[in-house]
Symmetry: C2
Subunit: 461 residues, 2 copies
């Protein structure tokens, strides 16, 4: 979307350069980078400029200029999104918060940290280790994704079933609104029920309501004991899913419970040269942590061992790492196949086997392979659709759309942790229903009346 | 607020009786009950009628009539609120959801339950015990308060530091809007990031955005082992608060950590006839649960024992109950003193001792006793202001107001778990700031344009 006729793009650029000297970049490399994320997609057209903010005042200045000129403003962190929520196209101002990466405060007594949005999740957690503390959100991208981006997407990860999603780990936010005003929501206290929970509303809002500029995070003490890890193979994904259900039903809450199907195991075997498929057709990885880690893992080994073709339990860090690596290698091992559309449905946990059944049915009917990994502890599946090039073929959207409808029909969702972005915007109303979709758009309009913040993300323009 | 001139109250009553035969009550006892909650306050004037809804359709009918006639509609559960959020005054329609108390579904495989809003928290949990499951929100009122009310106020309790507040235990809601339309928000899956988190927005909205008619709850497995309980006395509340801080810093997360001051201990001693004050001037109650309960409690006994005048640890259920009873008796033992304004500030955990210091200073300066109990695990203090009669004297509001300002100044809040209701409405803007307060009012207007839902609660009319 180009700048409005009222204010030519050149004037907007001049205004940015004047207000933000040394912070505005228009070189091809910068602009090209801002057209992409980790989804493999590329935005149409080229953005006007990238503003690399270093302060709240920088963000406010950029928002005021965008607002005054009606120019779309796309907030970007590290660009690791999978739903095109941070892709900047023709004429847009890119607002990068990557250089706002300071840790402003760590309080061991409060188990809180105050950070700028651009710090990488992994970098923050390396710093927190020195305090015996930890920020629990753990998206797979944690070493390359920012805290601000994690919050903007309410990022998930492997540990959510035990430790909750990002929303539970955010106490307060400072947010610059579209018109440049600075809004503070939430508290530094663990509890607080004054008025509506706008902090929770901001978490997962994908940059459409404001620009997150300061984050007060709820930390946890680092689990003290070594983790206990189970790696188990099963004759089929159904049997593995049933074992995962028995784990949930056992009342023992593992920190991690990941499930992989045959197609993914084949890819990992090929990629790593380690023969996994001879051990079984599906893999279940379980980790327990905390003071009772080993006791809990022993109980769970008995639970899953009954139907496994092979199962082992270890507390040795290197052995644990080897069992975990099977799962870690899943995405890298898919890459040689082509471009991957990583889908992200979540279903109630008793629908896990049904979801795998639906995926199998789609594979058959559409004649495509859909290697799938799954956060089995919380029913969040990542079916991976493989294609060539940088645009998802319509037939894949057709198959994915059927899967979304299935997830919604069983009370689940078309996105467990990646968000709507641009890629899934067309299915949003199907999940929300017209009434809620309308209310959500009105909330968007309330925070951003001119519709300049991430237009096209979540809702159509 | 009477019905508008456009539609006399008699016509509104006729419309209710016609639409909801057998569900509309205007007897004095019913209407008197609806003028009160557990705060000791009584609403001005008498409501028009109490509608006892038995179905979603009943709620929709009442909302449509209220909307069409511009009549205030006050949703009530069990009336156990402490902030007058459910008090119905002159001319209002009371919408009771107490008779919508069915458990619609319990899924052990999903660890979810679907319930109507009127079921008591305690009744639900008694049913869930049979499934080895548990809904974690545990306000002190749990045996007499409804799940719908717990959700409407984002209720807290003793277990929040470990198990989270009510928001974390709600997956989805059905809500009737002011105009009678039925809105569904959230998912049955544990995760879901499609659009804005309107489920979290509804939790804690105190009946001002809609009427909760169905609740999909996230359950937890019942902790298997017996709890381990520590009761410890300290020479002063400062020393006890410091011990609580050391517990937090130790990295061991107790399920319960409650602190009581000298004044409260004196009341409990008087009330129960058990001499507590000879053991110390402040009491810290700690409970650990789960597989490592005893190991954790032993570690914490060492942490707090160093500065305690007396400390004991037990896993015996009866002994545990005796140690817990000291805390349980706190509120009943205050009742003989007069009417109690139970205040509810929360502060960052490193400000606990400072908060007690502030309370001591107010006691001195205002010449009043403010017995205080505290959820020390999450920094939520209940200073109890004692007065005679059923209206809080202005001098008490003055002292309480100073305490609110203190809590806000250290990054805390004027309500950790009770909510704003009518009683604290005048301080809300001080905490939220004008910008956020304005946005919150606009959100209210978006859901309830005519302002008929709980007018005067949270915001002034």
């Amino acid at each position: 979307m180009p700048a409005t006729d009222a204010e030519p793009a050149a004037d907007v650029l001049d205004a940015l350069v004047a207000a933000l000297p040394g912070r505005v970049f228009t070189d091809e490399e910068s602009l090209e980078r801002c057209r992409r994320d980790r989804s493999g997609h590329v935005a149409d057209g080229t953005p006007l400029a990238e503003v690399r903010a270093r302060s709240v005042a920088d963000v406010q200045a950029a928002c005021r200029i965008a607002s005054a000129s009606g120019t779309p403003l796309i907030t970007r962190g590290a660009g690791t999104g999978l739903a095109c929520g941070g892709l900047a196209g023709s004429g847009a101002i890119v607002l990068s918060t990557m250089e706002m990466d300071a840790v402003l405060e760590v309080s061991a007594a409060n188990q809180t940290a105050v950070v700028e949005p651009g710090i990488l999740n992994g970098d923050l957690n390396r710093i927190l280790t020195g305090y015996g503390l930890w920020w629990a959100p753990d998206p797979a991208s944690k070493d390359i994704s920012t805290v601000g981006g994690n919050i903007a997407t309410n990022a998930g990860g492997l540990l959510c079933a035990k430790y909750g999603v990002t929303r539970e780990a955010v106490l307060a936010l400072k947010v610059v609104l579209a018109d440049g005003r600075l809004l503070s929501v939430g508290h530094r206290s663990v509890k607080g029920v004054t008025g509506y929970d706008l902090c929770a509303l901001m978490v997962g809002s994908e940059g459409t309501l404001g620009v997150i500029v300061e984050c007060t995070l709820r930390l946890r003490p680092l689990p003290a004991s070594p983790v206990a890890t189970i790696g188990a193979f099963f004759p089929s994904v159904d049997v593995a899913a049933a074992a995962a259900s028995r784990v949930t039903a056992s009342g023992v809450q593992p920190a991690v419970m990941e499930l992989m199907d045959r197609a993914t195991l084949e890819c990992v075997s090929r990629h790593t040269g380690v023969d996994l498929v001879s051990k079984g057709n599906s893999y279940l990885l379980i980790q327990c942590d905390g003071a009772a880690a080993l006791t809990e893992a022993e109980a769970l080994l008995a639970v899953v061992g009954a139907t496994a073709t092979a199962a082992e339990l270890t507390t040795d860090p290197e052995e644990s790492e080897r069992l975990l690596a099977v799962r870690r290698q899943a995405f890298p091992s898919l890459e040689p196949l082509g471009t991957i559309l990583v889908e992200d449905i979540a279903v109630p946990r008793d629908q896990l086997a049904a979801a795998f059944g639906k995926i199998g049915e789609l594979e058959q009917r559409y004649g495509m392979l859909i290697p799938t990994v799954c956060h089995a502890g919380d029913g969040n599946l990542h079916p991976n659709f493989v294609f060539q090039g940088d645009t998802v073929p319509e037939v894949i959207w057709e198959a994915a759309g059927e899967l979304f409808s299935f997830a919604i029909s069983v009370g689940g969702t078309l996105s467990g942790e990646h968000g709507i972005g641009v890629l899934k915007q067309r299915w949003l109303a199907e999940e929300l229903g017209d009434l809620q979709w309308g209310l959500q758009r009105q909330i968007k309009a309330l925070f951003d009346p001119a519709g300049i913040l991430n237009p096209g993300t979540m809702f159509d323009r």
